[in-house]
Symmetry: D3
Subunit: 286 residues, 6 copies
């Protein structure tokens, strides 16, 4: 009798054969407003059976790929340090096996666990960051390891000019000031400007970490997130942009964060997140 | 003391006087993902009292029309065969009286019950089909009478070139292949191309069955459906397109399916569905 | 890297070692009122991680048992016949391996798939049935394979005096008449009388199929079900009764049905169902 | 083709033949805390199709009764005066036809519209009142026609000793003082004492108005109400009590109020309310 | 120990220093379809802590303004007259202190309470009105003080040509006729034409009352309202339009109405409303 | 114009005059299953306006008491250490002023912040603990400061025989073993035995900390909590027990924790929690 193995739809390759390895980081202890992102990765996986494996946009099918889904890490709520260590350990194992880590959050802080590990392997790493929020605070009520500070912590590691932010439409005045001072390459409000950034990064073949906070989407299509911000991008805009990134730049690791499925009782947000993951998997494997 | 007759708002004509007859087909047994479309027709009728009878888009008023609303059929959950027979019988009665059947689903399979009856009367029938999904599978886990196969079953009846599909953005590779092989006239992703198709059908005055799976709408405006698919059309795009169809081609029967009202606790999906029905009634009666 | 195997909490034995085998039957196509039981088995499994493995009531721990969880069957919505065949096949395999099948519904019709197979192996089978509804209709709108008829279909197989019904507080007049005519042993409204029935069945060591429709519980503690019926039993009453059954009679197969988790947004119904499953597993293994 | 007449299940008698006439009063403008009772009557009617017509408690069937359901009044939200006038007019018509009015609320203020009319016909009227709240305020923020004052307004009409209140567990100190001063016969916290009150009223054959604010039930079984008050009665306690009243005293009119269905997304509250209505109809017709 | 003073985020000026004074009008008794707007003002205030005080659109920060938030009025549900009197009294006090009243509804009827007071001080007052509904009925089921009549009541005070309506896409035929007859300046469907109207009003420096019924937004981004109307404006369209109004014309008072937060369990509607209020405060203070 | 001060209903004393001081601890970062308790204290306060100030059970009125409500602490999500420090500081200030701290959680870990401070002042402190869960783990996935360990941490401070636990019906085998070994005085499943424990503590006049995890209630009446456990106590049982404690023993500080209001869309859980707080305030002030 078969075991009950649950994966993102059609991501049932053997580990050895996989080019991309999915894992979940179900953590949301530092969420300051509305928690629930801890349920994101399991929901994306579980509800992926409502999707088709075939993308008419890309004319590709997940059935043709080799993706491994390692399930969710067991993370200790309340301890950001131990959580980030567990994420880094998992990332390291995947990188050492020569595969691409694809993390499903969880809140956005989990990105720090992967980025710090990826940056060890790729010291010239750049980050492409889609988000509604700048996430550039130095601390949040005294806490340095907070979702609101995650890109600032990444900047601590990577330094100026390496972080390319798109869709940003919320933050403190100081965060926008930090970006304007040249520390990050911030493109407010929309995904405009992405094509030229992607083309530049592609031409230099630098390794890129691609992190998508799903609240970059407009709350109309993605209400299920802790801090919805009106004025976001449409699904088609996101879909085209992520395809551009995956098909041009050298993506060495990626993540999708901040789905809080219980905040959207219609289930649409989870369905959208699953479709984003499918398109990412297909585009990155082309 | 008056009896408690409940109809779609202002659709209170006598049967004899009616040009259009509404009836509901509250069935969703073959829904593969999230059920609830069985509650669609009653919700559209019940919540129609939150609408105005007047459309400022068309400058027409339901008060001026003669529409009869026959309520919902009593359908045996679990038996697609018996359900389709009941729908066909009702359709036949309406057609024989020289009226236009307007069915409210229910899941999309119910369309087969009307189409097979309408095709008997109009052997040269075409179908205009708005949907997110191709619905062209030959079977679903061995089941032939499934919502996922309904247009394929219609194709079994009508043959090649008679089915005009718009807005399709989800399906198996084989379904898109079936369409591309010329069996149906599939327009992916949007309603583009509708105007010329409608004009062609209008010029030849062929009879047309018009079926709208409401998930053709973007989930942002219509989350209350079993299988929401991001990347759909806006309400205004749908409104203009359905007006075009009703005002140009010879619509001999029509349906609106796949509202699952309980999946959208905000009630917006039901309100949208009601407005679609109002605009259809007004446009088809012009 | 480990595979993502999802089981009911601590039910991670190897198949060969297992005494009890759990499987899910995610089907609800014949539900006449409010669907959603298809999501029951997966929810029980997924949310079991909010439970403890230890029962202070029984002073036992799931960690000490050998239970295998085979996951959910893939069932074709819309076809009761094919669904029941798939359930029977799975039941047969488990019985042939000398193990106890423990099915998680799904709607109550799924019980027919197991009972007809168990009755082949144990022709002297009795059924202990906890439910709010008699489920003794001969048909439902002409459909014989309906949740509302499931015990009647079991009676077709087993004959008079073999079905012991408890907690029944809803049904047509004819169903109560059928029971009163001696066809079943119906105990209305509560679980009273169970002890003596269980003792009788225990003393004769007849094989017993134990089916629990969770709507036997009062809707206050279990709102998440298709047809809630006020006036049901409390959790403690159910817990004591199921422990009595499992610890005295010769239970050769069992099921738990009719959790519709999405109907209870608080999640309490799923948590209750999981606790029922835990107590059943512990009691039946003692 | 049949018209779509919607009634409480099986209440499809002709008006002339009916002994009891149901009508709805969908009004909640004076609700001070959480509105939504306006949707109560329609929900009870619409969801009654999830009930059986047969009561195993009473061994009676709605199919054997002659009840007419007149649907909902059209009431002007925002105007308590006009609303009460419309209710009184409807009550008068039913009383003049020699039938028993059975009103479904709406908020509790609607009771004033019936009581003032019934008291004209039966000057020696008593009221049996089940409720969590005393509803004896003289005004609410200056408003005299408020749900919180409705029994006080009834007292204005009937005077001391005519109102028998049960289950009351919430109110201002002054309201309890008003009752203790002998103006009403208030039985706090439970339905204890009802039997002797009912027997007294029965022996004198005085006409009785029976008003049930459903929040007399414990919120565990009836959360869908504007102001839930923990510590209420169980469904079985209510069922037995209402049967006692209907089978002993001379009930000349009755109502059931304060279901706010949208406050309980599980739908259990509506199902409970429907079962209360069924038991009332059966008991009052015996 | 500090008192628990709750304000819209950063609106913590002393009354004397404030240029703008916020107050809430939690009333919805005349809502004809789905109530809940009574909870709007408190929700906007309470959930404002999920917003940033800084607007990257305007490059301004609430921290730099002097705004006072007086909390919610205590209003008697069920009495429109007493409610409007309380609103007028509060408005008068703020106007007399030389400040700008900024009311948070509540249903749209509350606008009458402010407008009639503002019109006393500014007899040449104009109104800019964003809404999905014309609100021009003369009465609603006989009630003159209804949300559906509020702009008609304002027209009673101001007369022809003073009310500039945008985004209107729903109403009775008579309401559109009333506007077309020249009584109001109605711009259907969108915010087109606003710029020239605003420029005209700016050049003449007439005092303007700015009332935003949030259902002018498309239900995709703002489902939490009593009567959602598909086909509305996007958040960015609204944001740009309100900025235009506040930065050009002489706004002497304003309001934001018709958020019904409980109708949108995702919380997005409340977040959107809060962002609208923030942008209004920043634009009007520039 | 008055400031918008929000308190638990009628808890508007001046700080100097108050005997009891309420404060909220909106923290839930260590919640392992379903977060949301961070919203508990604000919801209790905000929804208290649906309660009466008068208790007919105790014949007392909050209007007669002097209670101060200091609002919610601002706590850094993600840092248990900093959170507990902030709670301890607030507790210390209240104790030093000779008042009784009454904390509203938040998750149960917050109790450690108060207990450790109260134990400094009262070294002979005992704890009366109502809960479904033992909370006696030494760590949770390596984390010592977890809600699942809070009573164990209290035991670290107070030692054996000082903690009296009631209603416990869930925990690991090791936790029950720890209690059975005599470290705590654990009364499983119900509140039985409380009277004699309370009488003993009363006769010795030892200072007592009273902590109520609201999940001691049955999920039927209190579904809105992170980890609901069927088989709990009724509201009346809890009400009587807390009255007994407050009226007999020397309660020097107390808390109420684990309301997660968003998990119960009916709002009943919040209403129940508010009523518990009212009864505690009234009983402790007698």
């Amino acid at each position: 009798m078969k075991k009950n193995i649950e994966t993102f739809i059609a991501c049932d390759a053997e580990y050895e054969d996989a080019k991309v390895v999915i894992f979940g980081a179900p953590f949301d202890s530092t969420t300051s407003y509305r928690p629930g992102a801890r349920f994101g990765s399991a929901a994306i996986r579980h509800e992926s059976y409502g999707l088709e494996t075939y993308s008419p946009y890309l004319n590709c099918d997940l059935e043709d790929l080799n993706v491994y889904d390692a399930g969710d890490l067991e993370l200790p709520m309340g301890s950001a340090e131990m959580t980030l260590d567990a994420i880094s350990a998992c990332t390291s194992e995947i990188l050492n096996a020569g595969k691409i880590p694809f993390m499903l959050g969880g809140e956005h802080l989990v990105t720090l666990g992967t980025v710090r590990e990826v940056a060890k392997k790729y010291p010239d790493l750049h980050i492409i960051h889609f988000d509604a929020h700048a996430d550039l605070r130095d601390d949040y009520l005294g806490v340095k390891l907070s979702h609101a500070c995650v890109l600032r912590r990444c900047h601590d590691i990577l330094g100026d000019g390496r972080i390319h932010q798109f869709g940003i439409r919320s933050g403190e005045r100081a965060e926008f000031g930090f970006a304007r001072a040249g520390h990050t390459d911030l493109h407010p409000f929309s995904l405009e400007g992405l094509d030229s950034v992607a083309d530049d990064l592609a031409s230099s073949r630098v390794p890129v970490y691609f992190t998508i906070d799903l609240d970059v989407l407009d709350p109309s299509v993605f209400p299920g997130t802790g801090t919805p911000e009106a004025g976001g991008v449409s699904f088609d805009q996101l879909r085209k942009a992520l395809t551009k990134v995956c098909q041009t730049v050298n993506v060495v690791a990626l993540d999708v964060t901040e789905l809080a499925p219980t905040l959207d009782p219609s289930g649409v947000s989870t369905a959208v997140a699953g479709k984003v993951v499918r398109e990412l998997l297909l585009a990155i494997n082309q």
